[in-house]
Subunit: 445 residues, 2 copies
Amino acid sequence: MGDRKYWDERMETIGSEDLKALELEELRKQVKYVYERSPFYKEKFKKAGVSPEDIKSLEDLRRLPYTTKDELRETQEKYGGLGGHQCAETRDIIRIQGTSGTTGRPLFIGLTRNDVNLWNELFARHAWTGGLRPDDILINPANFTLFVGGLTECSGAEHMGITVIPAPFVSTGTEKFMMLITTFKPTVLFSTPSATVFLEDAARKILKMEPSELGFKKGFLAGEALSEEERTRIEKTWNITARNFYGLADVAADIAAECGESPGLHFCAQGALIPELIDPDTLEPMVIEDGAEGEIVFTTINREATPVIRYRVRDMVRVYTKPCPCGRTGFRFHVIGRSDDMIKVKGVNVFPSAVKGVIQSFVPKTTGEFRIVLPHPGPSFGENLTIKVEYSKEVNTEDLEDLATELKTAIKQQLVFTPIIEWVPEGTFERSQYKVEYFEKLYES
Amino acid sequence: MGDRKYWDERMETIGSEDLKALELEELRKQVKYVYERSPFYKEKFKKAGVSPEDIKSLEDLRRLPYTTKDELRETQEKYGGLGGHQCAETRDIIRIQGTSGTTGRPLFIGLTRNDVNLWNELFARHAWTGGLRPDDILINPANFTLFVGGLTECSGAEHMGITVIPAPFVSTGTEKFMMLITTFKPTVLFSTPSATVFLEDAARKILKMEPSELGFKKGFLAGEALSEEERTRIEKTWNITARNFYGLADVAADIAAECGESPGLHFCAQGALIPELIDPDTLEPMVIEDGAEGEIVFTTINREATPVIRYRVRDMVRVYTKPCPCGRTGFRFHVIGRSDDMIKVKGVNVFPSAVKGVIQSFVPKTTGEFRIVLPHPGPSFGENLTIKVEYSKEVNTEDLEDLATELKTAIKQQLVFTPIIEWVPEGTFERSQYKVEYFEKLYES
């Protein structure tokens, strides 16, 4: 089993015509299913003047309205429990999961036995793509509770045959977590890219060992995009092959993973999700073709408990469609930012996360803190963009003009637009433990 | 499905001859299996001068040596990982669990896919016996990590078709836990008997509601014996039917449950465990017959990862074998104490937990704290037993003689022996957050 190339060869190497036929058949079933069982979708579809019978081709998917996370939150408040898009009987639902809910009420997700089985398969497909194998040993530091990183990822990994050590940091404690590493020598480091730093410190502090000495072989890095700088650092620090994995609690816990042979995350959820690419401004569909950048939208097919139709997950992606030597036919993508945060400056897409990257590369001359000034509502700006940047105490004010020139050049080179830099002294901006608001909206003050 | 009487009618109503035949066949396989794969058992069996071929009848089980938890801990320290009784390849193990390890190093348990499947079945058998059904909704406040109450109980409940809401208190937090109760209206309260008190307080404090108003229907009370006083209180407080469930991480997470029709927990693990009853002093086998009291010993059959042979779990039980109206043929038992703590006073079995019960019924005249004085190593004592008891500040010393007479009478009535009471003032004994040592061993000081 360890020698086979794919977990599910048929689905991972399916040709586009076969995939389209499968998607159309399942889409028609799913649309009929949600229309009959969900008051939420019935109302939505009626409002949009479309009924299940109108779905005759895959293109007809575009006739259906988009669904947003806010709508799902609202329907859960209105109907209680899983909300008006719950399509299976509660007695047929075996697991409740949810989004983290750090920004407000969590969004709840239900899974029937078939949903669990399908998610288990998706875990195995994407984990196999990312290099995991049944003889691996995975220590899981994720918080259990509703978070899919806990129970659901354990369920998927066990399904694949991986040895799972459930050891949520919060309840296991750092000392015992490290003891489990030395006792069972796990091969898979399951973490967000940023949390690896915490694990590194713990290894050094408690075991007095370098992370690279612990015997890990593979990084299963999910929950955030993995930059190439982070990959290099993590691979060296832990002496592992670091791969990025992608999933979404409200769509499917496991959707895509890097195969290591070509850039981007391979889409692995054929037959479970129909992906679309759209322009987040116009909401017009885009072709999924090499180099395209757009917002990714998912429609579940074969989902029983809480299906989502044309669900805007707000991830902006860059797509790769050139054939991959690994033989998988799923397109690949990088997550380049959140569409909620994207603005257009003279036709160029700008993400605060990208701006942040450049400004932080100027630390310690800057503090890394900044605000993008929006003179009027976005997302499009025809004028130069002003960015307020905190210079640090150790900079002489007479050097600021030169520093601005350097920073503008770097932003131009990396982000293809030239901003106006307005310096502000260290400590000007409020520090937040949660989500930083990178925009200063002049029209709101 | 909701209407059937048993989860697994064949096994739950199996006749004794059929069961014996099944047990013998599986026992012979298991003994051969562990002998061939486990250096720990091979050595043990050789030392005892017995080999797998010697097991020709069920009675021959008695020729095998007992196994203790300390031995398993030692073999895990010696060999690392799961220890010298690991019989399956690590690559075939999909889950690591463990005992809580509050008193020292945790004991680790491995499960192969077949072990998980069997444990899932055992969960369903005992949960069905205890009144749970697939249309139930179970909120799980148990700590995840290695504790079987987390991942393993979720796995079993999902297998049965119950809706599982994983919500470990430690990571979910009290507020969110209560929000989940009002959102999903779980029907099953999964808790230890003692932790229900904490949940009661939380409901009153956070929801400003009485526990009885929350909509729970069934108590799934595990981890500790449930006294009749506790049952009555919990049933009234929560407006539920409270049943006690029994399992052991190192043997099988789910072994027995109360059916509600006869006293005691029905043994539900036919085909997975062979139970024995032994005299904890002489280690001689006892007949499992109505009214018998002894230490229960389990031998796994059909166990792949970490089998245990004649494993002394140290639970002293009282057995019931009269036919039960529910039709289940498994014998029933109550856990009456830990054999480690049992002593014999003039031929009468005495458990500190029972002594504690009587002394605590005299609070606030006593503080509830006490020590049993052992003049020489036990477990048998031919002389009167001295118990040092803390009287509380509010008692006049001149009343102590009368109080001692009352206490002696109560102990005589409830525990069938008459102690010597030696009063000590409040605060004499060290308070412990962990396990209290109720014995004062004169021969050790």
